[in-house]
Amino acid sequence: MTLDAAWAVDWVRRSAATVAEHRDELVELDRQIGDGDHGENMNRGFRAVVAKLDALDAPPASVGDVMRLVATTLMSTVGGAAGPLYGTAYLRASKSGAATALGSDGVVALLEAALDGIVTRGRAHEGEKTMVDAWTPAVAAAVDAADHGAPPSAVLAAAARGAHEGAAATVALVATKGRASYLGERSAGHLDPGARSSELILRAAAEAAAAAD
């Protein structure tokens, strides 16, 4: 089992769908500890991505091509903190995912590249109540699954579970990066919106892989 460009396209479409579905939830999470635009930003971005996909003459040749399209589109439509962060994540992923098809190691490399992109851009460490807190356990879980010989779909399922747990754990944290950090202690008790959107996107990846199985 490997994951190809068709999976990547499906992932992106599922991401767009789940982001649209959870737009208001993400807005509300951001309203509580930020400025209330995260759901709108992500939804605007992913709608633009889908529009670009729809307008393609030929289907993308590789996972990397899909990732690059997502990267440039998010970068130019999302704005805010999430735009450059997700943009860089997908850009790094596009370089890692240049192959036409990914095995479990390829999936792990792609996720590691994405996380690396987020950290390089945003300079946040684990525990600062950001999307890094969803991606770090996601990557760890993916590595662990691949080490145990799991197929790509299981690796992504593990990543999605890791992201879910990581996102949930942000509730207790006090933010020290991003807009929520201005609230100090008052930021505790709320789920980080970027961690939540990361969780949604990684779940979409796992679901697309399951559907491809």
């Binding site: 400025d35 209330g36 635009d37 704005g79 735009g83 991003g178 609230l183 008052r186």
Partner: protein, 331 residues
């Protein structure tokens, strides 16, 4: 939600378009990507000045494009930093060979997007320097935060850097004077009401009828703490004191005092705040030699105000006084 808008998705584009029509003598508006440049094109040999950020803070930044202030402004979605593909063309449009200074309010989103845009511009051969505005003393400990926010002090940075660029200073000199303003300006704000972002449709935070939010930013973020209803004189002291203390104002200092409205406050109330802030400065032996009172850096229709103090010297005063011709500031 009651607003004088059409589709929330279109509000920035329609508003900027209207702005361009109303001020065609001062600015030229580009749509898709959206940015606003000074009318008449590049000024040969002059350092270009570019600022931008989320919309909803009008007149910041587009209202400050014109002679003696900004060469370009880049408006993002409401409360959302613009994207690199808007910022980079704006930088290119005002690069007249002397380089470009970007004035960026210190928010993660703005910093990251301007950073990326600068990389793009640099790749195209434009020398870009950046100054980060972080005047908000409400953000107390920058070790545990994304650092102080850029708020109303931005007006002073843009005005003074604009005057320096207009008189022909080179990029290093313009950047240096902009940084000097940043180093000497502090702000603190409060809100009586939250604001409603069009695409959110409900207030940015919940505030009881007898509560005031102290230490707000300009993005409808809640502040650091809440107090009960108090007279304007008491509230003004809660704003002025941390500003003056943080600046280390000393007897004999001369300052610019800016009382800024958040968009929904009558200017009559801003003058009540101004009166008290000025009395408090006078008690400290600080002389207010320049003043600005009005809605300059807003949060949509939020009711509230911020107090900004800039320590002046002769050069900063002269640059502040230099002619300016923009939609929102002119003398």
């Amino acid at each position: 939600m009651k607003k004088l808008i059409n589709d929330p998705q279109d509000v920035v584009a329609e508003s900027v378009e209207g702005f361009g029509l109303a001020h065609a003598d001062l600015v030229t508006v580009h749509l898709d990507p959206t940015f606003v440049v000074r009318a008449g094109g590049r000024v040969p040999g002059k350092v270009g000045l570019v600022s931008g950020g989320g919309s909803g803070h009008e007149p910041l930044h587009a209202g400050f494009v014109g002679v003696g202030m900004l060469d370009a402004a880049v408006p993002g979605a409401v409360f959302t930093s613009p994207t690199p593909d808007q910022i980079a063309p704006a930088i290119a449009a005002v690069d007249a060979g002397a380089g470009v200074l970007t004035i960026v309010k210190n928010y993660t989103g703005d910093v990251l997007n301007f950073e990326t845009a600068a990389e793009l511009a640099d790749a195209d051969g434009t020398t870009v320097r950046q100054v980060l505005v972080n005047d908000d003393v409400a953000v107390e400990d920058s070790l545990y935060t994304a650092g102080r926010r850029g708020v109303a002090g931005t007006v002073a940075v843009e005005k003074i850097a604009g005057a320096a660029a207009e008189r022909g200073d080179d990029l290093d000199a313009v950047a240096a004077v902009a940084q000097r303003v940043v180093d000497n300006v502090r702000t603190m704000g409060l809100a009586l009401t939250a604001c409603t972002v069009p695409h959110v449709g409900r207030p940015s935070f919940d505030l009881a009828d007898d509560e005031i939010e102290i230490g707000i930013g300009i993005h409808g973020e809640p502040g650091r703490h809440r107090v009960g209803l108090e007279p304007a004189d008491v509230l003004t002291e809660k704003l002025l004191t941390p500003v003056a203390d943080d600046l280390g104002l000393a007897r004999g200092d001369r300052v610019l005092l800016l009382v800024n409205g958040m968009g929904g406050t009558p200017t009559s109330e801003l003058y009540v705040v101004y009166r008290r802030a000025r009395a408090l400065l006078s008690e400290r032996g600080v002389e207010v030699t320049r003043s600005l009172v009005g809605n300059y850096v807003t949060s949509l229709e939020m009711q509230g105000a911020s107090v900004t103090v800039l320590r002046l010297d002769d050069e900063l005063t002269a640059l502040w006084d230099a002619p300016v011709r923009t939609a929102a500031l002119r003398w």
